[in-house]
């Protein structure tokens, strides 16, 4: 089937404003959903779930959160790992201290607590921009790292500071096997991705983008920088906090202090740069790329008969990510997502480009 929009006329603005206005896209998305919901559970192994799919989905969600802030609102953050930690520890403490609280509600509340933390550390963005703000968000990262490592209350005074997440009880559905965990994560992430898409294509999304593109002009057309920036910090941190709670509860199960260190922040930043700043699709593409590179480095040299040491793999990883970041910033600052849409544009007029 060719990728064409010829013959698909839009007769109302409503039709034109769908997320996927072109029929072929809708079919493709339906296919992906079908594969994710039906084919994967039929075929996948536990390894695939726990080592690849679940972390991929959760990190995609965190990347969406970060992209809202960086890609849509233009406020750089190096503290994403810290806000994930807030989500994870908040969910843990909510479950621990309020026993009757259903888990999904606890996760949402944890997201809200992360949002509050985001607002708090977003306040400096009202006065500072760019790299000044980056340093301010580093303050958040290091402070939060310290808070959860050193203040015993947050870890319920466990001697080692490590935390074991409670059983995952989603309104009576005990999420236990890797497949169930995968499905639960998939549903949550899909819903949140939809919410994110709705937000960025509506009023609030335009407010953020206006601030990103030219904050002075945005103020002159009536946008309050205070509400625009802080709402971006809040929504972003909410997503990141939920992702953090999922990371702790679903993926890790139990975690040590510093499981959400600054390297996590950088990893997420790389995902959105490589995937595409200002694109929800790009978050998934970037997360997939970041997940796949270490796997390839693990498997391919071994298959070729030149196995790399673990240290070498992590060094190569760092080098590849570094090069990719610079490469994308030079060639295509909108990342894989933009390459993808360019490909689609070419495909539309193929084979007669003129």
């Amino acid at each position: 089937m060719l990728y064409r929009e010829a013959g698909q006329y839009k007769t109302s603005y409503a039709e034109d404003q769908q997320i996927f206005p072109i029929r072929q896209d809708r079919i493709a998305v339906a296919l992906i959903v079908a594969v994710a919901l039906v084919a994967v559970p039929l075929l996948a192994s536990d390894y695939l779930y726990t080592a690849i799919l679940i972390p991929f989905l959760i990190l995609s969600l965190a990347a969406i959160g970060l992209n809202i802030l960086v890609g849509y609102c233009g406020q750089i953050s190096l503290g994403t790992g810290g806000f994930m930690a807030v989500g994870a520890y908040a969910a843990y403490n909510l479950c621990l201290r309020i026993e009757w609280l259903p888990l999904p509600i606890a996760i949402l509340l944890a997201g809200l607590i992360a949002a509050l933390a985001g607002i708090l550390f977003g306040i400096p963005s009202l006065r500072i921009k760019g790299f000044y703000l980056a340093v301010a968000t580093l303050a958040a990262q290091f402070f939060i790292d310290w808070l959860f490592a050193r203040i015993g209350w947050f870890t319920n005074y466990t001697p080692s500071g490590s935390i074991v997440a409670p059983q995952l009880n989603v309104f009576g559905w005990i999420v236990d096997t890797p497949m169930e965990k995968y499905l639960f994560t998939l549903i949550v992430v899909a819903l949140f991705a939809l919410v994110a898409k709705n937000l960025v294509r509506g009023r609030i999304g335009r407010t953020w983008m206006a601030i990103r593109d030219m904050d002075i002009a945005a103020e002159i057309i009536g946008i309050r920088p205070l509400t625009a920036k802080l709402s971006a910090f809040a929504v972003s941190s909410f997503f990141v906090g939920v992702a953090g709670a999922l990371w702790g509860f679903v993926h890790l199960g139990s975690w040590e202090p510093l499981a959400f260190g600054i390297n996590r922040s950088f990893q997420l930043l790389f995902m959105i740069i490589i995937g595409g700043l200002g694109s929800i699709l790009g978050c998934f593409l970037g997360a997939a790329f970041i997940m796949i590179v270490p796997l390839v480095l693990n498997q391919v040299p071994t298959a070729l008969g030149i196995p790399l040491s673990t240290a070498s793999i992590s060094h190569m990883e760092a080098m590849i990510f570094g090069v990719m970041i610079v490469f994308f910033l030079i060639v295509e600052p909108h990342g894989f997502a933009r390459l993808w849409s360019l490909a689609k544009e070419k495909l539309r007029i193929w084979p007669f480009p003129h």
């Binding site: 409503a14 335009r206 593109d213 002075i216 002159i220 057309i221 709402s231």
Partner: protein, 263 residues
Amino acid sequence: MSARRRPIGDTLLVVDGVSLSFGGVKALTDVSFDIREHEILAIIGPNGAGKSSMLNCINGFYHPSAGAITFRGVKRAQMRPHEAAMQGIARTFQNIALFKGMSTLDNIMTGRLLKMKVGLAGQAVHLGPARAEELAHRAFCERIIDFLEIQAVRKTPVGRLPYGLQKRVELGRALAAEPTLLLLDEPMAGMNLEEKQDMCRFILDVNDEFGTTICLIEHDMGVVMDISDRVVVLEYGRKIAEGTPDVVRANQAVIDAYLGVAH
């Protein structure tokens, strides 16, 4: 000038003794004039006369060091630009200030932001009220797009548009806010004759159809004399003349300061 649908009415905005200085440099000194409902007022003057600074004071971007501005009978001391926008003042800029990463349509939709009310949760779900609101405003913006004849570039990121079209999109964004007072900072700078004629037509149509009061800065004397009802002349931050185009044209100080040199 042809008879207009809405006669010039009462005073809309009063600039009273406004002075502005940056460090030691005086950009404006004791400038007073008023803008009346439904009129087109032009501010002219040589480069560096303080014209843009005057507009920046009116829409709250700069705060006058002395004097006061009264809009619709409300006198204000310090006001942030977004507050001016909420009161119904919209503007365009000398160096285009569009949101370059967004499409033409999205840029114009940002002009409607103040009129959209659905909350965050509603937008997240994007059903019912949020959707209805979005569509209603889309319809309004499409009317502006039709009016400015930019249908073909509706979905193009504005960063890729040629200069003349960007100027139109910027006007469209200001119009989308349905302003009471529209400030235009050199709307025709850098345009060729044909583009200028189009822009003049848009300005006159806006004034005539919506009754929008317009205050514009322009260098092209032909344009100024043709479309404005009254003219204020600034030089070195001071007002040196004010009146109808004919009166200003005949004013000796103006001829010396400006027209005499330019023509």
